[in-house]
Symmetry: C2
Subunit: 398 residues, 2 copies
C-alpha cells in the first residue's frame, strides 16, 4: 500500500424529501446563483422545492448548462455574478451542471488571464473560489462528493479535467426520488460511468503486479457487484426507491477518493474517452464502455492478474483447470462479461454502433496524443504505457 | 435505506515515515499538550520523532492515560492546560489515549458544572472544545477518524460513551510501522474490536428483516473478510508492513461512520461489554468477544437472516439443502465460526477463561440495567429488545 492522505469535507445529505434542507445549510444572508441544465428540474418539481427553500437567498438563475459543459457557456455567468454580487453557487442537476458550476466557482475568483488557464496547466493552483453546493439529480460522476471537474471548449474541440480542494461541495443533497423520471439512457450511462470510475482505481497492475490493498480491492469489488446487481433494475423499475437509492449511493462512493487510497490509478479510458466526446459528441459514459474493454485487451499482460481476480470475485468465474493455469482464461472471460453487462444496459460498446468509423477515430485521436507529446514510454495509464500507438490499436479494435 | 447525513472532516495521513508531518498540520504558534499512555511511545521512537517535529509548539506533556481512560486521571490535565495556556491537544497512542484526550478537549472548555455531566446526559451538547489531533499507534477503536469517545469513572464503576462533532480529530497520522512492536495480545484485541465495530453496524435485523442496503452490506463484509484473512498474520508476522497497513486501515474504516449510513445499528454488545470492563477490568476487545456470540444466539430469530448472509458471504458456508431450508443451519454455523476466529487470535470467548463467574456477572450486570430502567421492550439493540432478562441470559450462557 502506498502512502496517502485523505480528507473529504463535503457534507452528504441523503434521502427522501431532503431538498428543502438547503435552507438549513446555506447562510440566511447568502446571495445565491442557482445553476441548472436543460430544464428537467422544472418538470420533476426539484426546481420549485429548491426555490421555495432558498427564499430571498436566490438572487439569480442560470440554466442551459449542457452535457459536457462548455467554457463558452459557463463564462457567461461571470457578468451575472458580478452584477448580483453572488457569493454562493448552488448547482442543481447531474455531473455536467456540477462540473460546470465548479469551473464557474474558480473562474469567478480568477484574476489575471483567461480562466481556461486552469485547464491547460498555465494557472494550476487557484487561490480562491466561490463556495459551491449541489442538489444531485443524476447519479454518475461522483462530482457531488469530490473536487474534480471536466469542462470542454468548443472552439478548440478540447475536453479537460481539473482539480482543486477549493471546490469540494460544501454540501450535496442526494434525494433518490429525483431520479425516478430519468430516461433509461441516462440511468444506464450513469451506471456505466460509476462502474468505470471504480475500474480506473481498481483494475490496475503496475508491471503486471497487483498492489497489496485487500480492503480497497474488496470495496471496489463491492461497488462493481452492486452496480451489476442493481443497474438493470434501475432501468426496469425506475420508481423503485431502494434500487434508485443504492445506485445513487454507489455512484457517489465510486469517486469520492476512498477506494483509490494507497493504490495505483489508471484513468487511460477516461483520457481516450474524452476525445471521443470532443470529436464525435458521444455521451461520456458511452465512450467509456467503448474504450475500456479494448484497452484491457491491449494491456492484457500487465492487467491480467487483476482481471482474473475481478473475474473470479465479481463474476464468479472459476478456472476450469487446477491451480493457476486457467487464470488467463478467467481474465479474458471477465472482459467479455463486462462488455455483455454494458450491452445489457442498452449501452453499445463499439464505435460503429455510434456511426463512427473506428479507423478514422483511431487516426485522429492518436494524432492528438502524438501532438501532445505522449509516447508508449510516457503515456497514459498506471504503467504510462499507453501512447499514440496503443491508442490507435485500441480504437481500431472497437 | 434510511435517510442520513454524512460528513467526516478528519484529515488522514497514512503511511511510512509520516509522523514528522505534524509539523505541517499544526500551526507554528500553537501551544500543544502532548498526551500519551503507558510510555510505549518512548520505547518505539514515536515520542522522539513527534517531539522533534513539534519543536517549540510543545508546551507540556501528560502521560499515564490508562486503558479505559479514567475521569479521575484525565481531569488532572485541566490545571496544566490552564497554566500553560494550551490551545491544541495531540494524542499519541491508541484508542484510550485518543478517547481520553477528546474528553479533555471538551472538559477544558466546559463551564458551569462537572465535565462528567456530558457522560450522564446532564450537559449533552458541548458548545466548544480544544482542537484535537492524533498519532495513532494501535489500530482498533476508529477513534482517530470519528467523534466518539468512551471514558470510565473509577469512583462509580461506570463506563460511558460520548459524541460531539467538535472532537473530530483535525488530522490523524497512521504510520503502520508504529504497530510493529505491539504485543500479540494488543494486536488481537484490536482486530476483534474492529471486527465487532463492523458487526454492530451490519449484523442487524429489525423485526427479523434485513435493511436493503447492498453496498453498505458489502463494505462491511469486505472489512470482516479482510480482518479474518489478515488478522492472524498481524500476530504471526508483526513486521509485515502490508499486513500491518491493511489492519490499520481496516480498523479506521470500521468506525468512521461510512458503513452505518442508512442502516440500523445494534451496539448492544458494546453496552454489555462496557459493564464487564467496569466490574472486572477485562480488556474492551475481549469483552466483545465474550458477549457477541451469546447475544446472537439470544436474538437468533431476529438476526438469523443476516447471520445466514454473513455465513454465506464471509465464511463461504453453503446450505446443504436446496432453497432456503438450510439457512438457519448456516446462521448457527456462522456464530461458531466467529467464536473460532476469536479463539484463533488467542482471544478467549467465555467468562471462565477470565476467571469470572458467569452467574455472578449475569446477576450484577442485569441488575444495573434494571436500575437504569431498561426493559425487554425498551432495551438495547436495533430492536430495543435486550433488557435485563436477556442480558442475564446472555451472560449466563458465556
Amino acid at each position: 500500500m502506498q502512502n496517502f492522505s485523505y480528507q473529504n469535507p463535503t457534507k452528504l445529505i441523503f434521502g427522501k424529501g431532503t431538498i428543502a434542507e438547503v435552507a438549513n445549510e446555506i447562510p440566511a444572508n447568502a446571495k445565491v446563483l442557482l445553476t441548472y441544465g436543460g430544464g428537467s428540474i422544472k418538470k420533476n418539481g426539484v426546481y420549485d422545492v429548491a426555490k421555495k427553500a432558498l427564499g430571498n437567498r436566490l438572487k439569480a438563475e442560470f440554466g442551459g448548462i449542457e452535457p459536457n459543459p462548455r467554457y463558452e457557456t459557463l463564462i457567461k455567468t461571470l457578468d451575472i455574478i458580478k452584477k448580483e454580487d453572488i457569493d454562493f453557487l448552488l448547482a442543481v442537476g447531474g455531473g455536467s451542471v456540477l462540473d460546470g458550476t465548479k469551473f464557474i466557482a474558480l473562474a469567478a475568483k480568477h484574476t489575471g488571464g483567461d480562466p481556461w488557464d486552469f485547464m491547460v496547466g498555465k494557472s494550476p493552483n487557484p487561490k480562491s473560489a466561490l463556495p459551491v453546493a449541489s442538489i444531485l439529480t443524476l447519479p454518475a460522476t461522483g462530482s457531488e462528493s469530490n473536487a474534480n471537474f471536466v469542462v470542454s471548449r468548443n472552439s478548440t474541440q478540447e475536453k479537460f479535467g481539473g482539480f482543486s480542494p477549493l471546490i469540494y461541495p460544501k454540501f450535496s443533497i442526494l434525494d433518490p426520488e429525483t431520479t425516478y423520471t430519468l430516461p433509461a439512457k441516462q440511468t444506464a450511462n450513469g451506471v456505466v460511468d460509476a462502474f468505470v470510475h471504480t475500474m480506473e482505481q481498481y483494475l490496475t497492475g503496475v508491471g503486471g503486479v497487483i498492489e497489496f490493498a485487500p480492503l480497497q480491492d474488496r470495496w471496489a469489488e463491492s461497488i462493481l457487484t452492486t452496480l451489476i446487481e442493481q443497474g438493470k433494475r434501475g432501468i426496469d423499475e425506475p420508481q423503485n426507491y431502494e434500487v434508485r437509492a443504492t445506485l445513487m449511493w454507489s455512484a457517489t462512493m465510486a469517486l469520492n477518493g476512498l477506494i483509490s487510497r494507497g493504490v495505483p490509478e489508471d484513468w487511460a479510458t477516461h483520457g481516450i474517452g474524452h476525445e471521443l466526446t470532443a470529436f464525435y459528441g458521444i455521451d461520456h459514459g458511452r465512450t467509456l464502455a467503448v474504450v475500456m474493454p479494448g484497452l484491457w485487451r491491449n494491456q492484457f499482460a500487465k492487467k491480467k492478474a487483476k482481471l482474473a481476480q475481478y473475474g473470479h470475485r465479481v463474476w464468479g468465474l472459476l478456472s476450469q483447470k487446477p491451480g493457476q493455469e486457467g487464470r488467463d482464461e478467467v481474465a479474458y472471460l471477465a472482459i467479455e462479461k463486462t462488455e455483455e453487462f454494458f450491452e445489457s444496459l442498452g449501452v453499445p460498446t463499439h464505435l460503429k454502433d455510434y456511426g463512427v468509423d473506428s479507423k478514422e477515430a483511431a487516426e485522429k485521436i492518436s494524432q492528438r496524443f502524438t501532438d501532445r507529446g505522449f509516447t508508449s514510454e510516457h503515456g497514459l495509464g498506471e504503467n504510462g504505457s499507453i501512447g499514440p500507438k496503443e491508442i490507435k490499436e485500441i480504437l481500431e479494435s472497437r
